[in-house]
Symmetry: C2
Subunit: 224 residues, 2 copies
DNA sequence: GTATAAAGTTAGATTAATCTAACAAAATAA
DNA sequence: TTATTTTGTTAGATTAATCTAACTTTATAC
């Protein structure tokens, strides 16, 4: 069994890995707000447990076992977020911190019950995929709103940042998942983007925001 | 804020205190399965935090603050047990270990939501009172089944032990809370007790069991 | 291509929570 | 009332997870 601390390292490694599955010590240190020497020593420990591939001065990588264990923690986190929103009527901006704690509960039955009650959801309230029972994740490849062209019509599919502040910002503008957005103007100077949606609503979003919104092509062709 | 470890000491002190609110180091050590010197040093620490009254060689007592904090942890534990049984359809024999973990979650909103969804329950699934928002507990004074006389008719009101093994033992005999029991025979030699209940069911329970079952007088007089 | 900066490691200290061994006080029994 | 047992404390070691200071390796900049 892994300690709560070890679980947090595994989860962070999983979350911040690049396409090759690599993470630098400095990044991990920053993400967890833990000094680099501490990270190094924990990586040696996790390497000893065959959860991380560690070689001096090389990028960190989770082993297959490490990936699985991390995936299972993230599964618990996302199932919990879904349960809190769907069954306990909490806002999507309020569930992250609670899920951050509940993800460490050791009880397969508890999470199986959640899964069943939620009817085996595939996505969490922020649009992120919920890993399966083996910790495997299957994610669609959405693009960022910031990468869209003027004139495009897209659907808001997921948010990258799940901080309360960011989600409250979206709430205040009635920006929720599933919403159809039309890209009106992209300001070349600062990449701010003006979109229209809902009942004639117009909003201009900074690049900081549009980088954190994931969208999918509106499948209009199929429907009409 | 108290650590998870400190919380476990507070809870144990609350749970095993005698009528005067006193606990011995040896008892606490045994309950927590932690050696006496460790308990002593933690008591000094909690004394420093004004949660425990500690004097060398004297019995331990929670301060008012300590009692409140312990009560609030027990509140979270019991609300959780109720939620798991009522809303997640788990058996009363399966909820203790999960509640033992969830009681440490730091999130007033989370437990307030539970409380609301459960419609502010006063008792947990084992018949134990749920402390109020101030950690205050109001308990009826049930008597033990082992203290009943032959001929008495009583109602099963609560169980003292919440171990899975004990509760499965009760399940196997259809012994659930609220059940009307008639005391038939008390064997003087070993204090085993024979009761009748339900559809002509007869069971003989050892003293070990009847000591752990709390009953209240059947209020037959009032009803007829 | 050397100098500087950034990233990573080693060594050693610190804190919380635990332990064992040895000792002291209080309770119990002879 | 003295001896023995139980209970409780002190002292010092251990482990997990953290830190700072100093050093090394790798990357970046001129």
């Amino acid at each position: 069994m892994n300690s709560l601390t070890e679980e947090n390292y595994l989860k962070a490694l999983f979350n911040i890995a690049n396409k090759d599955g690599e993470v630098n010590v400095a990044e991990l240190s920053k993400t967890l707000d833990i000094k680099m020497p501490t990270v190094t020593s924990m990586m040696k420990k996790l390497s000893g447990k065959k959860l991380v591939h560690y070689e001096s001065y090389k990028p960190l990588r989770l082993t297959e076992r490490g990936k699985k264990e991390a995936g299972l923690i993230i599964r618990k986190h996302r199932l919990t977020e879904m349960f809190l929103v769907e069954k306990m009527k909490m806002g999507w901006e309020d569930v992250h911190d609670i899920a951050e704690q509940i993800e460490h509960i050791q009880s397969p039955v508890f999470f199986d019950k959640m899964d069943e009650i939620l009817d085996f959801p595939k996505l969490d309230p922020h649009g992120s995929p919920i890993p399966d029972r083996n910790g495997k994740i299957t994610s669609k490849d959405y693009k960022k709103l910031s990468e869209c062209q003027a004139g495009e019509i897209v659907k808001l599919a997921a948010v990258i940042n799940t901080s309360s502040a960011f989600l409250k910002f979206l709430n205040a503008r009635q920006l929720h998942l599933g919403l159809k957005l039309k890209v009106k103007i992209i300001e070349p100077f600062d990449q701010s983007i003006t979109i229209s949606y809902g009942k004639n609503q117009l909003e201009t979003l900074s690049n900081v925001v549009s980088e954190r919104l994931l969208v999918e092509e509106k499948a209009d062709k199929i429907q009409g």
